[in-house]
């Protein structure tokens, strides 16, 4: 007879550890969407958030933020260039990836990725940056010899007109693109949230608030990244930090964080109050397998602590010494960056740690090497910083006319579109 208890038992033993019951197909050693898919929404969120920071200058005329305008845009671009990589690495057949754009299945949220991505890269970021930098490219291409000169010249795309009407047009175009860019940034990241939020099979994901949570956590993380980069860059270049700019950034960061925390709390309040059939397993998930990343990492370190720190500065900031404020800003932005990464982990991995039968939990052991290991993910997280370093070297030169008191990110005249 086929039934062989000994054999069956030995097979059960070599199965990955499952607590309770999981559908056999679910009980794999590591989740289908592993740490690479954690990196993907994180990076995309940073893109959207950094762009919103830049838009505050362009569209909403927040003058004190001008020193970080270009840095934010370049950050956005550096991360956007890396955004599809984790997805691509994760595919079973990366060589077929272009099918998503060539023959998209229009009812799939994932099929829209190529279009949303291309739109954002081509129609928003690159265009805005080009209009913003056009005049500088023309000037730099004349001034710089060698390879740099060639690079700048090629970026002018053959348009060398820097007459006043042309520069004015640049500014106007920059502003228009920025206005289009804000909903596009929301679209880019809201759509990432929708990928998860639309999965009704998974109660941890299938949630109408998911896109909004993703948008606000993206804004928060992108702004925190801009704060972090601005401070690090200023220290690395030994240029003074514009405290007016930093204070202003923190103010926006604080308000965005308040909204983000409110929406995420609302999500939990709603889940706990409406208490549908999934609530038991979700509660044990939060208190068990996600305790350190959700309650400690995301809620306490990534939200509550920065809220208190930044809130204290909002209240008593004027009495605090500049050095203290700077340290608090740096600390809170790092906390937020780590907290949002933890949030992505909780969403992506958390959603795959419990069975869709709602009867048990799976384990996840993070590998070190291999394409699903954390080494690859760390590399993918560091790559945008390397690209950004090149961008900064090329497009934020220290030798640029230091009109704002030697600030690294000060823009030469003509590019202040909103002015």
């Amino acid at each position: 007879m086929i039934m062989n208890p000994q054999l069956t038992n030995s097979i059960v033993e070599i199965l990955p550890r499952v607590e309770g019951f999981a559908y056999p197909n679910e009980a794999t050693t590591h989740p289908l969407w592993s740490v690479l898919i954690v990196v993907y929404p994180y990076v995309t969120g940073l893109v959207a958030g950094a762009f919103i920071m830049a838009s505050l200058v362009r569209v909403f005329n927040v003058k004190p933020l001008e020193p970080v305008y270009r840095l934010s845009l370049l950050t956005s671009l550096a991360f956007l260039l890396c955004a599809p990589l984790p997805l691509l690495f994760h595919l079973g057949h990366p060589e077929r990836c272009f099918e998503i754009m060539m023959t998209p299945h229009l009812s799939s949220p994932m099929a829209m990725f190529g279009f949303v991505y291309a739109w954002y890269l081509m129609a928003v970021l690159l265009l805005e940056l080009w209009f913003d930098y056009r005049k500088d490219f023309v000037e730099w291409s004349k001034a710089e010899p060698g390879l740099r000169g060639i690079i700048y010249r090629s970026f002018t795309l053959g348009v060398h007109d820097v007459s006043d009407p042309a520069v004015q047009l640049d500014a106007r175009m920059g502003r228009i693109i920025s206005i289009i860019g804000i909903p596009s940034a929301f679209l880019l990241h809201g759509y990432v949230g929708f990928i998860f939020g639309s999965i009704k099979a998974n109660p941890w994901w299938g949630n109408v608030l998911m896109p909004i949570i993703f948008i606000f956590s993206a804004i928060v993380s992108g702004m925190a990244l801009c704060v972090f980069l601005y401070m690090i860059l200023s220290w690395a270049r030994r240029t003074p930090i514009d405290m007016d700019c930093l204070d202003q950034m923190q103010k926006f960061l604080f308000f965005a964080l308040v909204v983000d925390a409110a929406i995420e709390s609302l999500d939990w309040v709603h889940r706990l109050y409406s208490a549908d059939e999934s609530i038991h397993i979700l509660k044990s998930l939060a208190a068990g397998r996600l305790f350190y990343t959700l309650l400690v990492g995301q809620a306490f370190c990534g939200t509550l602590l920065p809220l208190l720190l930044l809130g204290a500065i909002q209240l008593f900031g004027r009495q605090m010494a500049v050095a203290v404020r700077q340290r608090v800003y740096l600390a809170s932005s790092v906390l937020i960056l780590v907290g949002v990464l933890a949030m992505r982990w909780n969403v992506v991995i958390g959603g795959q740690l419990f069975s869709k039968s709602l009867r048990g939990f799976m384990d996840y052991k993070l590998e070190f090497a291999g394409h699903e290991g954390w080494l690859a993910s760390l590399g993918l997280l560091l790559l945008p910083f390397m690209i950004l370093a090149v961008f900064v070297k090329l497009f934020l030169p220290l030798s640029a006319p230091p009109q704002g008191g030697g600030l690294p990110a000060m823009k030469p005249s003509g590019s202040t579109g909103a002015a």
Partner: protein, 271 residues
């Protein structure tokens, strides 16, 4: 002069983008046509998918958990042998008696499916005298009318056939795993060899030739019933099943997927 030139350029780029978007529909039509042709080419001559509507019904009371269906499926469809790759599997539910004085209707619900039930089930760890009720539930693709898996496939590699099967084109699947996440029933898995998503095809190569799916063919107790809603003979097993089980249920009905796999005598604990 430069101004008009730039604007024209932008307009040209925009119209290019619009043209690209407009050609999307056409390319989709073309893809659908090709796909239809591919599907048709694998089916025997004379099989018209629009003239059938397949349905699977399972009688929980009849299933003895022997696992023959699981093994037959693996053999028939070349499913990898590992413990996480199943197009069909069997779950065993053991519901214990409530603690005396607990005020509960039932005790604990213990569910297991060792190796998908392929080699049968070892004795339950729950002592016999504590068991209130125990039964086996065969599982497979639920043949959803509104299948979430084909809805989310980014390239359309998973598709609904007119006769009610949900198929995957392994030559087209990019292996993103979205469909596996979207299936509420855990019926899909990533094939470790082909690196594409895989699921029950209802033995499409068999049913289009007038045969039953392998799992139905081997079931010794006729717990699995298979039939065609569009062509019903008077003594059709599916007809008999539906006549006998007027309250047959589907799994996770609240999700609105509209499964075409029906269960008789389904306990409320089964998810």
């Amino acid at each position: 002069m430069k101004t008009t030139l730039t604007r024209r350029r932008i307009l040209r780029a925009l119209s290019g983008a619009v043209a690209g978007l407009l050609s999307l529909a056409a390319s989709r039509k073309a893809k659908a046509a090709v796909q239809k042709m591919l599907v048709a080419s694998h089916t025997p001559k004379g099989y018209d998918p629009t003239k059938h509507k397949w349905l699977m019904a399972l009688d929980v009371e009849r299933c003895i958990g022997c696992g023959l269906c699981v093994e037959a499926c693996k053999t028939e469809n070349n499913v990898p042998l590992g413990p996480n790759y199943f197009r069909t599997w069997i779950e065993r539910y053991v519901i214990t008696k409530p603690e005396p004085g607990s005020g509960e209707l039932r005790g604990e619900v213990v569910v297991d499916s060792p190796n998908g039930g392929m080699h049968g089930f070892p004795s339950s760890l729950v002592p016999k005298e504590q068991i209130l009720k125990s039964f086996y539930v065969p599982k497979l693709c639920n043949l959803c009318e509104h299948s979430p898996c084909s809805q989310v496939c980014p390239v359309g590699a998973t598709f609904d056939t007119p006769d009610g099967a949900v198929l995957v084109d392994p030559k087209y699947c990019i292996g993103c795993g979205f469909c596996i996440q979207a299936c509420p029933y855990g019926c899909r898995f990533m094939n470790p060899i082909t690196k594409t998503a895989e699921k029950c095809s209802l033995c499409y190569h068999r049913i289009t030739r007038g045969l039953k799916p392998a799992c139905v063919e081997v079931c010794p107790t006729e717990a699995r019933v298979f039939g065609d809603l569009k062509n019903q003979a008077p003594d059709d097993p599916i007809q008999r099943f539906l006549g006998k089980n007027k309250a047959a249920q589907s799994l996770k009905a609240h999700l609105g997927t509209g499964p075409r796999v029906l269960y008789a005598d389904l306990d409320k604990e089964v998810r």
